[in-house]
């Protein structure tokens, strides 16, 4: 890449930004850049792309744990070197993709990946890798873990990763606090706090810029206060929606709670513009316990929803489209989930979410 510079102390950074990917592209991809004609999927986990030039490539997609040790990465490198001229890429969902230009290399490549413990799949109408965040491993504000949640769920959904038997692709996301670094999901598993922050009043003055904490609260529930003679903050507990937005700028506003930070499941988020416009996911279950190391209640509910989708949706319907067609009345019936007052949105502009019509289903 860049030329080595003579070291000086202190060294000025080379502000090189985003590296050029061309040196990292498989030569067949490089040659046919922008000249692809179509693709198909000869089997789950394999994409077969054909260029206008007639050249073809087969890409094998495999799951990883994202949080990888260097040994894992090197084992992937070994496989790519042996079968694929020494190139690979990663998808936005931390799957690895290794491309070969010869059909006969596909099966051995799949074998090598599986052998090394990387499940091959995640293409087409499958459940691909869950979008991954930090959690207890690294973040400063998580109420749950990310790596463990993802591992637990992917273990449960492994068959759905390696097979393509969903009506359309299923994108699952998780987030380990209500900030939600994970995206919208066909199914999203997110932390939902249920109690206002417990304030460690003695620390507020040292750690928090009070006006900016006050400004963060979406419902104006925080006001400056003096507690035990020290400047602190006070929360109007009836107003507080337990969102946790005050916690990052002010760690003494303890929002995380082993008991009261629960998990909620949302469905029908969709970023793509295929057919319908992008849509936000909607809450369907809350109050699930935060239960490491394997969060069985979450897996149980996710599977209930996932299999209702698999069994009832039409081809190409994403989870949200399916529900839109059958209606929410039937969704709650099919999944046997309770419908409560909390499903009804009450936020600015939320009237648009009410049924302002005589369209009714029974």
């Amino acid at each position: 890449m860049a030329e080595a510079a003579t070291p000086t102390q202190p060294r000025r950074p080379i502000e090189s930004g985003t590296p050029d990917p061309f040196p990292h592209l498989h030569p067949t991809l490089r040659r046919n850049f922008g000249q692809w004609q179509y693709h198909d999927r000869p089997r789950p986990g394999v994409l077969h792309h054909v260029a206008h030039s007639g050249e073809e490539v087969w890409t094998v997609r495999a799951g990883t744990q994202r949080q990888m040790d260097v040994y894992t990465i090197r084992s992937l490198c070994d496989i790519a070197d042996q079968y694929a001229d020494g190139y690979m890429r990663f998808t936005i969902r931390s799957n690895v993709e290794i491309t070969v230009a010869e059909a006969h290399k596909v099966e051995p490549l799949i074998g090598a990946l599986q052998q090394a413990g990387f499940p091959v799949g995640g293409t087409g109408p499958s459940v691909t890798m869950i979008s991954h965040t930090q959690g207890w491993l690294h973040c400063d504000i998580p109420a749950t873990d990310a790596s463990g949640v993802v591992k637990s769920l992917m273990d449960e959904l492994h068959e759905e990763f390696i097979q393509e038997r969903m009506p359309n692709r299923v994108h699952i996301t998780t987030s380990c606090c209500q900030i939600n670094c994970g995206g919208q999901g066909d199914i999203a598993i997110n932390i939902q706090h249920t109690k206002p922050p417990k304030i460690q009043h003695d620390q507020v003055a040292n750690v928090c810029e009070r006006p900016s904490v006050v400004a963060r609260c979406p419902v104006a529930a925080i006001r400056p206060a003096v507690v035990d003679g020290k400047p602190s903050l006070e929360v109007d507990e009836r107003k507080c929606v337990a969102c946790g937005a005050c916690f990052p700028p002010c760690p003494p506003m303890q929002i995380n709670d082993p008991e009261h930070s629960k998990l909620a499941i949302w469905v029908g988020g969709n970023h793509s513009n295929a057919r319908g416009v992008p849509s936000f996911h909607k809450m369907v279950v809350a109050g699930l316990p935060n239960n490491p190391p394997r969060w069985p209640e979450v897996a149980e509910h996710v599977k209930k929803i996932l299999y209702a989708y698999r069994d009832h949706a039409r081809d190409y319907e994403r989870v949200g489209e399916w529900i839109e067609r059958i209606g929410w009345v039937r969704f709650f019936e099919l999944t046997d989930l309770p419908f409560t007052r909390h499903h009804i949105e009450h936020w600015h502009g939320s009237r648009a979410k009410l049924n302002a019509s005589a369209h009714l289903r029974f």
């Binding site: 936000f280 369907v284 309770p338 409560t340 009237r351 302002a356 009714l360």
Partner: protein, 421 residues
Amino acid sequence: MAKKLYDTPKLDQLESGPWPSFVTGLKRLAETKPMIAGVLGQLEHSYTDRKGYWKGGTVGIFGYGGGIIPRFTELKDEHGEPKFPEAQEFHTMRFIPPAGMHYSTQTLRDLCDIWEKHGSGLIALHGQTGDIMLQGITADGVQACFDELNEYGFDLGGAGPAVRTGMSCVGAARCEHSCCNEQKIHRMLINNFLDDIHRPSLPYKFKFKVSGCANDCMNAIERSDFAVIGTWRDAIQVDQHEVHAFVARKGRQYTIDNVITRCPSGALSLTDDDQLEIDNSACVRCMHCINVMTKALAPGQDRGVAILVGGKRTLRIGDLFGTVVVPFMPLRTHEDYERLLETAQEVVDFFAENALEHERVGEMIERIGLPDFLEAVGLEVDPNMIREPRSISYVRMDDWDEQAEKWRERQRQRAAEHDVS
């Protein structure tokens, strides 16, 4: 008889053309009614200046606090005298018509005669809220006019911060789509709130409208605070023989393009032998297929009404549609009708006590949130009340388990009821 007719060159231009002309009618009245002559004169001024010249005031009849819309002229000469003294007063009396706006000619003739005696002879059939508007009377005349019409059988409608005159569609009287007895519902609701109509003391106006089906010919969902819409719970009634005849007459392509693919819930399909298949659990009861194939299709037999609360037009926060607060209420027995009345009473009472001044019930719901409103008036939540569940996580769900249990309990009850019946 009129002292003089004023020149109205602008208004005269509205006498030509194929549509019936109100100007011609006014001129006819002006012959004998000086008030109307004055009104024409003032109106010509409005057409010239592009300004209105009426102001409000207070005019009433004994025992009632509303129902009359007073108008006094503001068009004065340099001495502060009315330019058209005959039109110094030009009040409107709002009378409630029979539900569905049906009339025997005898009643209409009597109405005309009585009105001609006391007032100007100008009648608007009807106001947008459904009143017979008798337009043009002086304050002196209203009591006698009211007394005579009231003895005849008419009552004043609403105005001001009151329950208003209701409306119901022609419905069961002449329409095959009707899923309920519109006029019975209409009269029961309105006649239950007569005190709130006649003695305005609500935070703001409150309107009832009844449409017999989802076509909503009364615009009830947007134009009333409490909309009652007929619907059904079971399967659409299909006469496959008539389906066949329809397809034979109109063609397959036409049927597919105008019926099958226009179903908003994808619930329809046409089999190869021209039978209509309906997925009734997907159907949203929109009425479209029934509208188009009215001879072949009809609403199901398990009929009732949905209630939507909160419609209104523009002021304050922009137009609102009503939203579903009762997805289905059967109306078979006396008790069923009682329940409807109770629901209306609960809503009006809660509105009366909790709305801010000049706040409509829809705006109040917007302010306090639908869940709290439902709880306050004793209605259960239902997925039919929403387009989709919340997307925003800003909510406190401490009591999730309790709320979930409520639903489960209701499901158990429902199942038990089904077992019995």
